[in-house]
């Protein structure tokens, strides 16, 4: 417990890193609501940049949210059953498939986008719709949903639960929706938050896949930055933070709740 110079040196380094991360965030948030960014806060606060951003980019923002929701739905429908099969019936083929499933995360988004463009670039209706972008997002986020749900499923003794339910007469689908899925809720919830957060913030893939009609929030951000208007870029970034923050907090709270639950150990010591 002795606070010597080593402690303060490490604390100093940690604080420097923290400032490194936080200062630009705060600066851009402020710049987004300051009347005149060159004069600083003394020029007053205003929401007019935010409103201007909304006028310019409302469609992008809404499209991002829409795609994130759609992505969530697809990954739920595809991912939860997949996680079940992976955990319940592990085999070498399964592991190979899991490897393939996770590959889109290991490979740069640029390469994935290139592959999609080469393959489906000619299908004009699909290529120019938001579905094209959705495809990329699903490829990238599906492994996270599967991993999150599979982790929870692996931790709970599914075999025992299923056999118990079966012995009471429940058929497969009743067992699946009545026992397996409800018990996997923490994993599904964590996976859902992850998928939505990743989808909203996805850029590398989306930039390659987008068209002027299918711009998402991060694509709009890149546009705004390129336009060199600091206030617009900052205000838009602020909107992004505001969208992302509750998701991050929810994920952290979920993780903490999980940690606290597993720390509850039963001590059978009784005092004499």
């Amino acid at each position: 417990m002795r606070r010597d110079w080593k402690f303060y040196a490490q604390l100093g380094l940690t604080i420097v890193l923290c400032l490194f991360i936080v200062v630009p965030v705060v600066m851009s948030a402020l710049a987004g609501v300051t009347v005149n960014v060159f004069k600083g806060l003394s020029s007053g606060l205003t929401l007019r940049w935010v409103f201007e951003v909304w006028d310019l980019y409302a469609q992008s923002i809404l499209l991002s949210l829409g795609i994130a929701m759609a992505c969530l739905v697809v990954t739920l429908l595809a991912g939860v059953p997949l996680a079940y099969v992976l955990v319940r019936r592990p085999s070498r083929m399964m592991r190979l498939f899991e490897e393939l499933l996770t590959l889109p995360v290991a490979i740069p988004g640029l390469a994935l986008a290139l592959a999609l463009l080469i393959t489906y670039g000619g299908v004009s209706g699909y290529r120019s719709s938001w579905l094209f972008i959705l495809t990329g997002h699903v490829l990238f986020t599906l492994p996270f949903m599967v991993r999150s749900v599979a982790a929870v499923m692996a931790a709970m003794d599914m075999k025992m639960l299923e056999e118990g339910a079966a012995s009471l007469g429940a058929g497969f689908w009743r067992r699946f929706f009545g026992v397996i899925v409800p018990n996997a809720k923490p994993g599904i919830l964590a996976g859902a938050l992850m998928v939505v957060t990743l989808s909203i913030g996805e850029f590398n893939l989306t930039w390659m896949l987008h068209t002027p009609l299918t711009k998402t929030l991060p694509v709009g951000l890149a546009d705004a930055y390129a336009s060199m208007r600091l206030e617009i870029g900052s205000a838009y970034t602020l909107i992004f933070f505001v969208l992302i923050m509750p998701l991050l907090i929810a994920m952290q709270a979920l993780a903490d709740r999980g940690k606290r639950a597993s720390r509850r150990i039963d001590t059978a010591e009784d005092t004499l």
Binding site: M1, T267, E269, T271, L272
Partner: protein
């Protein structure tokens, strides 16, 4: 290696205010094996860590090794050997490297180092494991490596923190015997922490029984077992049966019977208990089955256990709860029958009756 350790006026209060140890004095003679015995949270591990130098006593406490004040000395300098409950073997080193580690740190030249490691491994019967990695070892083997590592540096005292708890029962008994023999052979001062009273009785030259941060009794195994100084010690070490009685003019009255040859000395007040209600504690040999003519009490046998060497009876109707009575294995006694017992007055420990049990 046979260092005398003295703790004077040592207490421990943690940062959040919990009082882990009340002030106490303890002298451990050189070469002695002392066992700290008690339930979880009684403070026994705290004392061990204070001797090691991982915790420091509150202001005013003094710890000395052979007269040298080591109270403020950190563990790196104290030259103790510690065996942890989880063995704490370094997974990135082989068995031989683990055992050699302390010697390396102290700068022992490599030739001598290798010789000492070999000698140590041989002594612990693990010389064939020298190049194995830790995760390839069984529990008993890890235990021996941990001991070898701690002893290799020729520490002033050996500190063992529940080293056998993680092993299964049979292995525990076997290793206990080995450790006992090893400690005797080396003549090293050893402090051994455990909650297992059988282990304590088998290993300790003296036992320190602890309860909730206080020392309940210090004594040899025989003293602890035969002459517990308070109900807690009586209850914790060995089967404890209870009966109620009355002291009148220095004689013990239980029901209609009167007994003279009773040790009614109360160490807490330093006087013989002359009068008043008393609680009587006794082991499984405090009562013996006999003929009706000699009997003091009659009870009903609730259960009979054949333990090979003796017959263990659970008898109701004599004390406030069922009592355990051991008798010869060849006696023919059946559950449900009545049994007549006589009291062996010299086996009784007398405590003043208290309104509520602590």
């Amino acid at each position: 290696m046979s260092t005398q350790i003295r703790l004077r006026n040592c207490a421990k209060t943690f940062a959040d205010g919990t009082r882990a140890l009340a002030p106490f004095d303890l002298t451990i003679e050189g070469g002695e094996t002392i066992v700290l015995l008690g339930p979880s949270g009684c403070g026994k591990t705290t004392i061990l860590r204070m001797i090691a130098g991982l915790e420091f006593p509150d202001a005013g406490g003094v710890i000395s090794f052979d007269g040298d004040d080591v109270t403020r000395q950190s563990i790196e300098k104290r030259r103790v050997g510690m065996v942890f409950q989880s063995y704490a073997l370094f997974p990135n080193m082989t068995v031989a490297e683990n055992v050699a580690y302390g010697l390396k740190v102290h700068g022992v030249p490599s030739a001598e180092r290798d010789a000492r490691v070999d000698a140590m491994l041989e002594m612990m019967h693990i010389d064939m494991l020298a190049d194995r990695r830790i995760d390839q070892l069984s529990g008993g083997q890890r235990q021996r490596v941990a001991l070898a590592r701690a002893i290799a540096v020729q520490p002033r005292v050996l500190l063992l923190d529940e080293p056998l708890t993680a092993l299964d029962a049979k292995l525990r008994v076997r290793l206990r015997t080995e450790i006992n023999a090893l400690l005797r052979k080396l003549g090293i001062t050893a402090v051994y922490v455990t909650h297992d009273q059988e282990e304590a009785m088998a290993l300790g030259d003296r036992i320190v029984v602890m309860q909730k941060g206080e020392i309940a009794q210090i004594g040899t195994p025989r003293e602890i077992y035969r002459k517990p100084q308070n109900p807690f010690v009586a209850d914790f070490v060995g089967a404890a049966n209870r009966m109620t009685g009355q002291m009148r003019d220095g004689r013990l009255h239980i029901g209609a019977h009167v007994f003279d040859a009773v040790d009614a000395f109360d160490p807490r007040h330093g006087a013989i208990i002359d009068q008043g209600a008393v609680e009587l504690y006794f082991r499984a040999d405090g009562l013996s089955p006999c003929d009706l003519s000699e009997a003091h009490f009659t009870g009903r046998v609730e259960a009979v256990s054949y333990l090979g060497e003796r017959l263990r009876l659970t008898v109701s109707g004599i004390g406030p709860q069922a009592v355990t009575i051991d008798t010869h294995a060849d006696d023919v006694i059946e559950a449900g029958a009545d049994v007549h017992c006589r009291v062996n007055a010299d086996r009784l420990t007398v405590f003043p009756a208290v309104a509520a049990h602590s």
